[in-house]
Amino acid sequence: MRDWLSYELSDFLLFSERVYWRLFTLENANLWPMPLLAPLALLAALALHTRRPAGGLRLLFALLALSWFSVGANFIMQRYAPVNWAMSHAGPVFFLQAIAFAVMAFTGPPRRASPRLADKPGYALVLAGTLAYPLLALLQGRTLADAEIAGIAPDPTAVVSLGAALLTTGPRHRLAACAVSGLWLAQSALTLYVLDGPAALAPGLALAAGALALIATGRRRG
């Protein structure tokens, strides 16, 4: 017991900050031009949602299903798992999340009144994941080449998914859309806290904002 108490969070991270950010550089280069197209597709779904909420949300779910599958198969299993063996267990969870979004895209969201109170924070999170998240690389003194991009990297994909959870209705749909995203952002915040303190703010704040909005709008029933 005394031995276990002597462990710190950093003892479980066996890679450096430099290696971590290089994962995104390599992934963006490998999948180009997807780092440009994936956020545009997500934004198109959001634009459609403003006019046709049900159709827009189905398209967003379908794109997120593709995103979670792609991020799991490419970034998590091919890039991240070789330096962090715990990620080999995370890959299948990403595939489960992809299946959940695919099912919701197929069945469609529950009937709803429009517009809803939860739409604004939902839009904000989708925009944060697609537009703001890549710019964090510049704020952190890196380049856009190693930016985290929705549909390519896990954190912004999870942020967009939290936004999608806010845009849908019904507790089961919301839970299916946000559970894995929330857990991922929590572990990502812890990882970045150990690697590079300030960088942890982005997933941490996104998770806090998403959780608060989901709780608040859940109580008011949209």
């Binding site: 031995d3 002597s6 003892d11 290089r22 994962l23 890039r79 070789p82 330096v83 063996w85």
Partner: protein, 300 residues
């Protein structure tokens, strides 16, 4: 294989325990008492630094560090199956070396499955691209009884040069002390640096008494010591030791303990590697100087 004292101290190990063919100055070599093998005092760790996955740029940077290490006389490169892709990175670096004979290949067994030790050793050999290891250690004493049995068996069969035990961060010292007394291990690896000196009380004297070589891991506390000491005044003995930097003084302190055989700092930079290697050259602190270094450190 049933582990007995007799099987542990016999066997065809002679071919694997010849004097180390390093190009390093003889004065910089340290002896493993149980076999007489001599290896350079400054080795190379791979924890975190060599875990770079399949990144071609970082793989080449690590290969450059390994090449510089070989140029500087080579010696112990230490890794573990626990360290992500570090073993594969070392294999990549060794493949690019013209003369990998200067490397004292050191790895660990790290698995909770008592029956998987031999398989894991085979996987590690494949990752390194070597026929045999010069030293294999039971990582953090995990499943130590079964893995010691496996390793002593490999040594007896002539497939392994030395057998060792490891701990880090000052953990499980009581068990390590007991195993040092009860088993004829060739080496122990433990955390020893200017800030972490717990091993001085019992383990280092016991290693001298039993003729066990000591490998110091975390000599810089994962880089935290040089970072925290940056800009702070060196002790007055630094001038006598011809040392102008904290990293070199920190390494000289570790290497100058009479029980210490090898220190294994890890780095991603060729310049740091060469600076580490240089720490083994020139004058070393004697007991009085070591006390003054500790006293000065504790005032900072």
């Amino acid at each position: 294989m049933k582990l007995t004292r007799r099987t542990m101290i016999t066997g065809a190990t002679a071919a694997l325990t010849l004097p180390f063919p390093a190009r390093a100055d003889d004065a910089l070599l340290r002896e493993i008492p149980s076999t007489g093998t001599r290896i350079p005092a400054v080795g190379l760790g791979s924890w975190i630094t060599f875990n770079v996955g399949n990144d071609p740029v970082l793989l080449d940077a690590c290969a450059d560090v390994i090449a510089a290490f070989a140029e500087e006389g080579g010696g112990m490169i230490d890794s573990s199956p626990m360290y992500g892709s570090s073993q594969e990175t070392i294999g990549y670096g060794l493949e690019k070396l013209n003369d990998p004979k200067s490397i004292f290949a050191t790895d660990k067994v790290w698995t909770d499955d008592a029956d998987m030790g031999a398989d894991q050793v085979a996987q590690s050999r494949a990752a390194w691209g070597v026929d045999h290891f010069d030293l294999l250690q039971v990582h953090n004493l995990v499943e130590w009884e079964a893995h010691l049995d496996t390793l002593f068996g490999l040594k007896e069969d002539g497939q392994l040069g030395h057998v060792g035990l490891t701990t880090s961060h000052g953990r499980r010292h009581d068990l390590l002390e007991r195993l040092m007394r009860d088993y004829p291990v060739d080496t122990v690896q433990l955390t020893y640096n200017l800030a972490d000196r717990e091993a001085e009380d019992r383990l280092l004297p016991l290693a001298r008494e039993k003729g066990i070589a000591v490998i110091a891991n975390r000599p810089f506390r994962r880089g935290a010591l040089p970072l925290n000491l940056k800009g702070k005044p060196l002790p007055d003995v630094a001038a006598d030791l011809e040392t102008e930097s904290w990293p070199q003084l920190l390494l000289k302190f570790v290497l100058s303990h009479p029980a210490l055989t090898v220190a294994i700092p890890a780095t991603t930079r060729v310049a740091h590697l060469r600076e580490n290697k240089a720490a083994a050259r020139g004058p070393m602190p004697d007991a009085a100087m070591r006390r003054r270094i500790v006293t000065h450190f504790e005032t900072l």
